[in-house]
Subunit: 275 residues, 2 copies
């Protein structure tokens, strides 16, 4: 089984090219592939398949989370898919139409480097749905000013003096379980250095702190603008890398890196040990 290890700003995936649509993924295989130490380790598996019947797109991104569940969309994953198909000449246009369970995404190739290989890719994340801005919330007796938004999933963004000094884990756990968020929430901390630079950290609902998140970066940039701290076009700097976010009148776009780390073959004897 051929694989390609890719990442977008530190959000990493095992891409399994399956353009003949013959590969049957199952949760046990996805979990083992994504397991650190015992497998290859990644945040998710992307099976790259032909666009589904009746869908006008170049490829289908069959996205699985590391826990073996299926996800609708992944902003960092879709950029890596565009790089893969463009680098291999499977699509020659600078716009790659990726079929996802969350709809067809038109992904744009922005810059290419040595060997004409793709370096930066833009993806449309859709417009944020704004909840409450600078909302004073009681969290274990302490008042925190929270800005809430939906990017298809819920986000709670808090401005702090210095993101690097914060203890994100206890705060993430408390907000995730807070009665104000009956479905839980992703939690983002931001520090705004300039109207064009938002530094942030992300606590992903059900996962913990991660290096990058497309919806998280979108929520951070939108919240920084709603709070009057940043312009509509700003760079979001995450532990895994930087993403450029532009919130227009109608939508929100992220431009960011897509990198290929390695490619090869999964060991056949090892695959037989997976149930």
């Amino acid at each position: 089984m051929h694989f390609v290890k890719v990442h977008g700003a530190g959000n990493d995936f095992i891409l399994l090219p399956d353009l003949n649509d013959t590969l049957e993924l199952h949760p046990g295989l996805v979990q083992r592939l994504c397991a650190p130490h015992l497998g290859l380790g990644a945040d998710g598996v992307i099976r790259l398949a032909p666009a589904r019947s009746g869908v006008d797109a170049d490829v289908f991104m069959d996205y699985w989370n590391a826990d073996g569940s299926i996800a609708e969309m992944c902003g960092n994953g879709v950029r890596c898919v565009a790089k893969y198909v463009a680098d291999r000449g499977l699509v020659t246009s600078d716009t790659v139409r990726v079929d996802t369970r969350g709809g067809v995404k038109a992904v744009e190739i922005i810059t290419r480097g040595a060997g004409d290989l793709v370096e930066r890719v833009r993806v449309d994340m859709g417009a944020p749905v704004v909840g409450k801005v600078d909302w004073p919330l009681d969290v274990n007796g302490e008042t925190l000013n929270v800005t809430t938004l939906s990017m298809g999933n819920p986000h709670a963004v808090i401005e702090v003096d210095e993101v690097a000094d914060e203890d994100l884990e206890p705060l993430g756990r408390r907000l995730q379980e807070h009665e104000a968020f009956p479905d839980g929430t992703n939690v983002e901390l931001i520090t705004v250095d300039d109207r064009s630079v938002v530094r942030g950290r992300i606590w992903e609902r059900g996962v913990g702190e991660t290096m990058a998140s497309g919806t998280g970066a979108s929520a951070m940039a939108a919240a920084a603008h709603l709070l009057g701290l940043a312009d509509r076009e700003t760079r979001v700097v995450l532990p895994g890398g930087a993403l450029d976010v532009e919130w227009t009148e109608t939508t929100l776009q992220i431009t960011g890196p897509a990198a290929e780390v390695a490619s090869g073959e999964l060991d056949e004897a090892w695959l037989t040990t997976i149930r």
Copy 2:
């Protein structure tokens, strides 16, 4: 650059075959290769080179820790090296002589599976140097009975009712910094179900909890025997897998699995981004 991803009981390595001895590793490259998310992710890198000048061995295991430092020996790594050279027919004997910075290790192929591929390998870890047995130690006002041993590196083993119920992190941190261990110590918790089965968890000095450790498994088995709980030949069950340990009059041997997960090529464009 060709790579093979391997693991022994969940202790994982990026093996870089370099039998022409042309590859120059440096800490930055090792750190990036071992980084989860941004790299391939592993506990260490093994450059597989020709035996060093004047050394009578089949290959040299040039072992680097994930933090970019060099290590003398790694019991799980040396098993994976033996599997690699035996599976590819580079050595046809069932004993592979691996040159390490900790001396030449005679590693034995014990079982082969489908396709004659190596499954289990035995390595000589050397005899434990016993320190104190069942030593009552005051740890923040609580008395813990600790058995100390050296396997080239220091270990402190504690028997508990059920390893799964223990909170290893605070205990590991406290013992690592305890005045009784001026050089720090690895910390192992064990629960003995039967004289032939020791279940354990490992806190590695400077690393944290890990899935497996060859010297840790050795220390656990030896301590269980010294405490009168287990035979000289016992199975040590770790989070990453099981290792069979035999402590003879003269030495201590571990027999355990070696697995290959995948192999392929590191991306050239990605390698140029590493300093």
